[in-house]
Symmetry: C2
Subunit: 141 residues, 2 copies
């Protein structure tokens, strides 16, 4: 029927390393593919698509568990949409928090660089700055 390809090709096409693909299979993100006579994994287009999805989701910060949930839901697309929405929304909140923290960090480090930059002073401010001031982030987690 449709062409199937070996794991190295899939790796090249998806940008996911070979051992990582095997790892995804092991932890149940990717169904075990058919094997050739000589026991080699052989993937079809659907598997490649699924891996592409996994890759993007990982790149975008989803944890493997969240991806597993999304994939499970999408595999049985009935009572799914609402649940997917919940997962996506909670992830959205996470993202917003990460961005907020990183933005705070940015200005903190920027200040370090700015203040440290005029170079003369024997004692650099960096440690003080991080030791004393970064209190604004204390209860953010």
């Amino acid at each position: 029927m449709s062409r199937t390809v070996p794991i190295g090709t899939v790796s090249r096409e998806t940008g996911i390393k070979v051992p990582t693909i095997r790892y995804y299979e092991e932890v149940g993100l990717l169904p075990s593919p058919v094997r050739t006579d000589s026991n080699r994994r052989s993937y079809d287009a659907a598997a490649v698509q699924r891996l592409r999805f996994i890759r993007h989701a990982r790149e975008l910060g989803f944890e493997v568990e969240a991806i597993r949930q999304l994939l499970t839901l999408s595999d049985q697309p009935d009572r799914s949409c609402a649940e997917v929405d919940v997962i996506a929304r909670s992830h959205l909140a996470e993202i917003d928090e990460k961005i907020a923290r990183l933005t705070a960090l940015r200005s903190e480090v920027q200040r370090m660089v700015d203040e440290g930059a005029h170079g003369r002073v024997a004692e650099c401010r960096v440690i003080e700055v991080l030791g004393d001031h970064a209190t604004c982030l204390h209860e953010t987690h």
Copy 2:
């Protein structure tokens, strides 16, 4: 001379868990403190300050290795400022990249939520969206 306190107190004061403090000692972020007669760690104010620095730096996304560098430099504050500056600047670049990726992610997931939200369609778009579109981030790392 100055009062020294046990590890539990330090933990409470810094918000770092006891095993984590011992871990930081093990990996060389924190010098081994003096011990009491009964072999218990006893920390002075400097150690607490150093731990506070470590905590903030970790919270702000510095890796342990970067923190080690910063602390090493600040321990010998001569030829240090320029180097600290280099480290801080390279971290600044990292942060900017992270923020950029997360912002892209945010709109991606937002779109997922928006498009998925009108609920009727039996087949949710989420997987497609992540599988096909997120290509904008491909070569960013």
